[in-house]
Amino acid sequence: MKQDSKLVATTETSESSVAVQQTAPARRRVLTASVLAGATATAALWASARRDKAQPAATTETDDPAGMFLVPGSRHSDAIPDVPLLTQTGQTVRLYSDLIRDQRVLISFMYCRCQGICPASSGLMQRLRKILPQYLGPDLRLLSLTLDPEHDTPRELQRYARAFGSGDDQTTTPWTFLTGGAQQIESVRTALGYRDPDPVIDADRTQHAAMLTFGNDAANRWGTLPVGLTELQTVSGILRVLGNSTAERFAVVPRPV
């Protein structure tokens, strides 16, 4: 991106300077340089040759993606309860502090005995686990929470995980299956919006396994999409939220040449 900066300077000078004036606070830890990078990144893309999509995504614009907008209490993930849960290997983890904080995550709900939509959701997670690292790198975590914690013990979840290709090697793009107390699971489910104002529908667990939630906690961006979109729609919608740069966020949508 650096070699494009001259082009940027010639085409976008007035725009960039306006953006900097508006966005750079005098004494915050956000560096003026990173704001500049953000403001000019799209212009740089505009000027640069089209990237080969098969290559890994371009460098991130900033290692402080949310910049001055992240202060204590301002994260959308504050709504996610930091409850203790059990993984498929029987490990006790804290949902937020161990698995979500500052990470990029995909979250789905499932349960092992589910005959309806869950296989589709879990199958989609399985495919996304392969596809997304091509654009985002391996820095990504998948979480699947059971809606049937009484039945779904860690052992059951382990069996289910293997059926969806999530073996014991969890070193890159880990996929963690989670069970726990019914109350804890309920609190996560409602916090993430897998709920219906009609109590009858809300009590029916088959209604809650058909969405996918994805978050980039460091950038404070979250999104949810229904399962069942085409892969292009799903991938482009997720990248827009999880990507840390314009290049990552629009990796499957060609930018101007």
Binding site: E15, S16, V18, Q22, T23, A26, V30, V35, G38, A39, A41, T42, A43, R50, K53, D64, G67, M68, F69, V71, G73, S74, H76, D78, A79, P81, D82, V83, S97, I117, R127, K130, I131, Q134, A191, L192, G193, Y194, R195, D196, P197, I201, H208, M211, T224, P226, V227, G228, L229, T230, E231, L232, V235, S236, G237, T246, V252, V253, P256, V257
Partner: protein, 757 residues
């Protein structure tokens, strides 16, 4: 709270804002936060009511286009239609050649222009402001960019709602929009001009994004379509016959970016857009419409404000502002942060309704007639608005009557006398409110010292994103909400006062000769004929997969769900089959006319509206279309509806509190662009698809539902040999030139790597 204390609380002028707000920051263990949670609730009593005067709207100031503007030479280009006016390509930056199969229309003769185009520059920005005096809020908004003659930027003051437009029919406009929102927020924008007749490139399509730092040149022709006829099986436009009955009046613009529309609109990206023409001038000259200085635009939007008094928890931009203001000696209490929950897909409700971005403003008026231009800009809240004169001592209230003369973008042929305005999201209401009615002898007791207090109140009970009618009484879930009970029940706490009108009589009286009546013709309206062999399409709006679907499908930016012939007329059937959910359905591009409606009124009675020339039962039977009601049920319901209408119309001035509700919610004699689909409601409508090739969208205007992909694409195309055979199928959207300003391949023609779905 009983009625008396409710009125006392809304009538008071004197509590001090923001004395103390105990608001611990949310902790991890709390889980889902509702707006009503104590730590989010901006305690209503702490906001002084009727202390701020309603600010006048700012209007954009279009200027002539200069060579240095380089129209189209921005990241997202300009609509190809704009170039039809510039065949010499005199602009230094040429438009890329059209790709094969790309949109071809319109011909230049399909847009009328009576003046050279002008330009307005808007910047979408994030900035800090005080919604509640003493509290600093970080918002999004639009600012107009002002430039010197040599193109140097002079100023840009962002505001929310954004500056209003005041444009003339047949005067085209370029609106250059900059996305200057802080790049750390990674927010794309797309500006939809709601209610207009706009080329696809400039319609604010959810995927035609302006990325941070980018610009787009929107082309608003401000034209109306040509009339068209069916010749053989071809629809042919009539040269030079402009369908001026379609002239819009009260429109608006707002963000429409895919998946983040709810967020962007909630944070403040919206504004008003007024189109004016010679007919409106005439009506004003004849004294039928109030003078321009008697127009009161009112944009309603509810927000939930989270009070933060600990500086270490404030957004940095807010903290800077707070420190600056405190140093300047101002009394600042802290940050009021707009609460947005990305995990709420049911419908975002706030607990504070803002009027033009202000909380509880007042407006000084004379006992004269005013044009109230109402807009519901909320994400999920419905309003039933009434105007109450409040007795100065007993606090008894009495409803004012008014003439309703417009819905959505269009003025009616004849105004309708009403006492309430029901607005679903995106609905607009044009109201002729004459405060002079309160000068009559029987209003005497409401005056005190030549002053009269009139409150605009919403009487609707809405507890969640499903829509009104839910909450305490499930039985009302399928009914139109009760808008006008004679007396407020003692336990009723759901009436929201929104703005106070202070009517002042006496002094020097300037006679206002305005006299709109129900008899005077405002703007001609032509009922659309049902073409023989009309194409019928059915759309079922349903709950599915924990979200909302249309015909069991979700929005797919690459799929043209409806492909039809340009210039044709079609009959669409919209059905809400999602239990208790309300879905206001907005269809872009043109007005629609309802010809059959099946719904329930506020008494829970089934109501049926049916145009006499539409034998709905036979029509549907012949086409194997399912209809819920039998022919008999349709007839009897129709009669019942007519009689309850007649009853409502028989109100007299001594009985103004008679149970009535907004007769324009469903109405066969007016134009619509956003159809109120209450629970189990069915609407049959006629619509034309003229002038512009697609893609356009139609969608639920509960913006959370829209973001969860309750949206379809429609793509009118000029009929050619190659299109004929596939014209009814779902197709991939075409072309690339309107997507980005380059010839880059359209992403819909490629699959991401990693295998098929």
């Amino acid at each position: 709270m009983d009625r008396r204390s409710f009125l006392r609380s809304v009538g008071q002028v004197g509590t001090v804002a923001g004395a103390a707000v105990a608001a611990p920051a949310a902790t991890q263990a709390e889980g889902y936060r509702r707006c009503a949670d104590p730590h989010l609730k901006f305690v209503a009593e702490q906001v002084t009511k009727w202390a701020q005067e309603l600010r006048d709207l700012n209007y954009v100031q279009p200027r002539e286009v200069r060579a240095t503007d380089h129209i189209g030479a921005v990241e997202q280009g300009v609509a190809p239609e704009w170039y039809w006016f510039h065949p010499d390509q005199s602009q230094p930056h040429q438009h890329p050649p059209l790709a094969p199969g790309a949109a071809r229309s319109p011909r230049p003769q399909h847009i009328r222009r009576d003046a050279d185009e002008q330009i307005v520059e808007l910047a979408a920005c994030d900035f800090v402001t005080q919604i509640i005096p003493g509290w600093v809020t970080h918002v999004l908004g639009y600012g107009e960019v002002h430039r010197s003659a040599d193109g140097k930027e002079l100023s840009c003051q962002p505001q929310t709602p954004g500056p209003a437009f005041n444009v003339r029919l047949f005067h085209p406009l370029i609106v250059r929009v900059h996305n200057r929102i802080d790049p750390h927020l990674h927010l794309e924008v797309s500006v939809h001009q709601h209610g207009g007749h706009i080329p696809a490139h400039s319609d604010g399509h959810p995927n035609f994004l302006i990325l941070p730092g980018e610009r787009r040149d929107y082309f608003y022709p401000n034209s109306v379509p040509l009339q068209a006829d069916l010749q053989g099986n071809q629809w042919v436009p009539r040269d030079g016959e402009w369908d001026t009955n379609e002239t819009q009046s009260t429109m608006w613009y707002h963000d429409h970016a895919e998946d983040i529309t709810a967020h962007n609109a909630l944070m403040g990206l919206g504004g008003l857009y007024f189109l004016r023409d010679s007919r409106e001038d005439e009506l004003r000259q004849q004294g039928i419409l109030p003078a321009l200085d008697h127009e009161i635009p009112l944009v309603l939007k509810d927000v939930c404000l989270q009070p933060i008094t600990d500086e270490s928890l404030m957004l940095c931009k807010v903290r800077d502002e707070v420190e600056k203001l405190k140093k300047a000696g101002e009394s600042i209490h802290g940050e009021a942060r707009i609460h947005f929950d990305p995990f709420d897909h049911n419908g975002t409700l706030g607990n504070l309704v803002l009027v033009n971005g202000q909380a509880y403003p007042f407006k000084a008026v004379r006992p004269e007639a005013y044009w109230l231009r109402l807009l519901n800009a909320s994400l999920a809240r419905f309003y039933n608005l009434e105007f109450w004169a409040v007795h100065p001592t007993t606090l008894k209230h009495r409803r004012l009557t008014f003439l309703r003369f417009g819905r959505d973008s269009w003025m009616f042929q004849h105004a309708i006398s009403q006492t309430s305005v029901f607005l679903s999201m995106a609905n607009r209401g044009d109201v002729y409110l004459d405060f002079a009615q309160c000068l009559a002898e029987d209003w005497k007791e409401y005056w005190q010292d030549d002053q009269l207090q009139v409150l605009m109140v919403s009487t609707l009970n809405q507890k969640d994103g499903r829509g009104p009618g839910h909450g305490d009484n499930e039985a009302t879930a399928t009914e139109l909400p009760r808008g006008a009970a004679n007396e407020l029940p003692e336990d009723r706490t759901d009436s929201l006062p929104l703005i106070q009108f202070r009517v002042q009589r006496g002094g020097e009286v300037v006679p206002q000769p305005t006299h709109m009546t129900e008899q005077v013709e405002l703007r001609p309206h032509e009922q659309l004929a049902i073409p023989e062999n009309v194409r019928v399409r059915e759309f079922n709006f349903e709950r599915g997969r924990g979200a909302w679907q249309i015909n069991h499908r979700f929005y797919d930016s690459c799929t043209a769900n409806v492909v039809h012939d340009l210039w044709s007329t079609e009959l669409w059937i919209l059905r809400n089959r999602s239990g208790g959910w309300w879905h206001p359905i907005h269809i872009h591009l043109e007005s629609q006319q309802q010809i059959y409606v099946q719904a329930r009124n506020q008494r829970g009675e089934r109501i049926v509206l049916k145009r006499p020339d539409y034998d709905v039962h036979r029509f549907c039977r012949d086409r194997n279309i399912q209809l819920e009601l039998s022919a008999e049920e349709i007839e009897t319901a129709d009669e019942k509806w007519k009689s309850s209408f007649a009853e409502m119309q028989n109100h007299s001035s001594d009985d103004p509190d008679k149970l009535k509700f907004d007769q324009t919610v469903w109405n066969l004699e007016i134009k619509h662009d956003t159809h109120v689909l209450g629970p189990n409601t069915e609407v049959h409508l006629l619509m034309r698809f003229r002038t512009f090739e697609g893609p356009f969208v139609f969608h639920c205007h509960n913006l959370n539902h829209e973001d969860m992909r309750m949206m379809y694409q429609m793509d009118p195309r000029e009929r050619t040999q190659s299109d004929v055979s596939v014209a009814d199928e779902e197709l991939r959207v075409r072309g690339s030139h309107w997507y980005f300003a380059s010839n880059a391949p359209h992403h819909c023609h490629e699959e991401p790597s990693g295998g098929a779905v």
